[in-house]
């Protein structure tokens, strides 16, 4: 079938429509519809990735209109990989979500699944599209749905966290829109490939410079690059846990993808690293982001909040790698999109299981958790090792490429920050392990005999299976990272 690229995006969109309608009739119906929609989407993403690996870039013309007039979905190796990542994680998370949605937002399960599907549609569209304005609209779909989702979460703090997210999100998207306006002004086109063909002739133009800076600032705000990160920790930690598990690994990573797409495909390396002279400043900014994210994570008392600051830290890795200006750094950044999405997902799955059983996850609530939830904690430990960068988990390999890239460019501060942040993560996670493993359960929790055998109280089996599967895939992806680099990333960068 030639229509797989469109099907990836259309399936969740239609499913959202039907899930919304079905919720009016019978709330229970919306869950199976969501599962079917995302299953189709994931299957199409797999087929698309295989086609792209076998026979090169796919140009899919929406409704048969030829670019630059029509909107084109241009799927090359990079976004085929990200598409599979997004649809796969969304699908797996949906399976794990059934129980936690039942627990957290049972009265609004229908709306939850509808918004969930729309959010996935937005992310997939952002990844698939080859049109700059289309990208803006889809970013806004993603953002709008996530505003609504954050407000569905914590009854106390959710709406306020969401409102602050709206303000900053709108500024970010508007900056991007303004940047696209400048690009349109000077090139007269909105198709990425078309713009990329026109731009080299306009090297000295200050309009292009303004367009580039505005687009980058917009995307940086959306991906929460330090110091534009303030919205992220509150928004992510007060949203429903079923949504946090998906938004934390995906949203920022897709924005990193947008940045790399703009850099590689639209503006081109030559323009960014030879005409402009800002790469060093951005690498410094990324260095600061890594250190600041790590230090702020150390100060947190709540596990969810702590992990959100680790996301801020990881964003620094990818931005720094992409702006290194050499192949190794870019390889590291792209590989880290994949790895970081999977390991953040694994971490949040484990946290989701804890929230399901414990309700709140302040560090002091985690005492004796190894005894109580052994499987969840095993997943958590694996994911934590991956974030720290212990081989053979996948986190090690992308960090390795990033450090090599930094050394090749001579950006020793960035390499140092990477190593320091690994140490900070090690301290952070071992602090958690210590609490979970050595400190006994608080009194009154057990039935008088707190020191003897602790009853195993695990999360539901569906959540455990997904946690186990994703945690194991951390090792599998780590072992196959050479293959991934050779078949996907290096051919893309050629």
């Amino acid at each position: 079938m030639d229509n797989y690229p469109a099907l990836i995006v259309v399936a969740p969109l239609l499913a959202a429509l039907f899930a919304g309608i079905a919720a009016w009739i019978e709330e229970r119906l919306s869950y199976p519809i969501a599962v079917i929609g995302l299953a189709i989407s994931t299957f199409s993403a797999i087929m698309t990735l295989m086609t792209v690996i076998a026979s090169g870039t796919i140009h899919y013309r929406m409704a048969g209109w030829a670019p630059p007039m029509g909107i084109e979905y241009r799927i090359d190796l990079l976004n085929a990989m990200v598409l599979l990542l997004v649809s796969g994680i969304a699908f797996l998370n949906l399976i794990a979500s059934y129980k936690s949605v039942e627990q957290e937002t049972s009265d609004r399960a229908g709306s939850f699944y509808t918004i969930y599907l729309l959010f996935v549609t937005g992310l997939l569209g952002v990844t698939a599209t080859g049109d700059l304005f289309n990208l803006y609209v889809l970013i806004e779909i993603t953002s709008l749905t996530s505003y609504a989702m954050v407000a569905l979460g914590d009854k106390d703090r959710g709406p306020l966290a969401s409102l602050n997210y709206v303000f900053i999100g709108v500024i970010g998207a508007s900056f991007y829109l303004l940047g696209v306006g400048y690009l349109y002004l000077i090139t007269g086109s909105l198709n990425m490939m078309d713009v990329a063909g026109i731009l080299p002739a306009l090297k000295g133009s200050s309009t292009v410079l303004v367009a580039f800076i505005l687009c980058m600032i917009g995307v940086w705000i959306k991906m929460a690059l330090f110091p534009m990160h303030v919205w992220l920790p509150n928004a992510y930690s007060y949203s429903p846990v079923a949504f946090a598990r998906m938004v934390a690994p995906l949203m920022t990573k897709v924005m990193v993808y947008v940045m790399i797409r703009l850099m590689v495909t639209v503006f081109g390396f030559e323009y960014i690293f030879e005409t402009l002279n800002i790469a060093d400043a951005v690498v410094w900014l990324a260095t600061l982001a890594i250190l600041a994210g790590g230090v702020m994570a150390l100060a947190q008392k709540n596990l969810k909040k702590m992990l959100t600051y680790i996301i801020v830290c990881e964003i620094g890795y990818m931005v720094g790698g992409a702006w290194m200006g050499n192949q190794l750094g870019m390889t590291g950044a792209i590989l880290h999109i994949l790895n970081d999405a999977i390991m953040t997902f694994a971490l949040f799955l484990a946290v989701g299981n804890m929230v399901y059983k414990l309700k709140k996850v302040d560090l002091t609530d985690l005492k004796g958790l190894f005894g109580k939830m052994p499987w969840t904690m095993t997943g958590f430990v694996l994911a934590a090792f991956s974030i720290i960068g212990v081989p053979p988990t996948c986190g090690f390999f992308s960090k390795w490429y990033l450090i090599l890239g930094a050394l090749e460019k001579g950006a020793y501060h960035f390499a140092a920050a990477l190593i320091i942040s690994s140490l900070i993560c090690a301290v952070l996670f071992f602090k958690v392990f210590e609490i979970c493993f050595f400190e006994p359960m608080s009194e009154g929790h057990g039935h008088g005999e707190s020191h003897s055998q602790v009853a195993i109280e695990e999360a539901p089996i569906s959540m455990l299976i997904i946690t186990g599967f994703v945690s194991l895939s951390l090792i599998v992806v780590g072992l196959y990272s050479g293959t991934i680099v050779n078949t996907i990333i290096l051919p893309f960068l050629k």
Binding site: F133, Y136, V137, E140, S143, L144, Y147, A148, A151, K155, D156, R157, P159, L160, S162, L163, V166, F167, V170, I171, S174, L177, L178, G181, Y184, L185
Partner: protein, 135 residues
């Protein structure tokens, strides 16, 4: 100064949008009341929409509807169509989408403000911060 003035006058529309945008951004950053921030957000978005609308404009051009093609009786009159005679409709069409987006964002934000008010009985940011730190 003598150079700057003609520059401002010649491109007065763009200067206007810059001013509007800065008013919006100022309100979003400096105002204490959440509704005032929302209004600032809307001004900010409107400035960008106006910017797009204005880049489609051409001097002495008309709306892009080709009249001679209508009816068919004027076939003899049909002259070559010059793009310069018609304004560029594309930015305007794009802005229809952007308006929809901004309305949707505004709606969501208003709904959230209502929820915040129901919960805390206030929309002033400093009071909200005090309430939150009390707990």
């Amino acid at each position: 100064m003598t150079d700057l003035l003609p520059l401002i006058v010649a491109k007065y529309n763009y200067w206007l949008y810059v001013i509007l945008m800065m008013i919006g951004l100022y309100a979003m950053i400096a105002k204490n009341n959440l509704i005032k921030k929302l209004v600032g957000m809307n001004i900010f978005q409107t400035a960008i929409i106006l910017f797009y609308v204005s880049i489609g404009y051409k001097k002495d051009a008309t709306i892009p509807i080709i009249q001679s093609a209508h009816g068919g009786g004027h076939g003899a009159h049909e002259a070559a169509i010059h793009a310069a005679d018609y304004i560029n409709p594309l930015p305007h069409v794009l802005m229809l989408t952007a308006i929809v987006v901004s309305v949707a964002t505004f709606g969501v934000a208003m709904a959230l403000a209502v929820r915040v008010y129901q919960r805390y009985q206030t929309l002033e940011e400093d009071e909200l911060r005090m309430r939150l730190s009390e707990k």
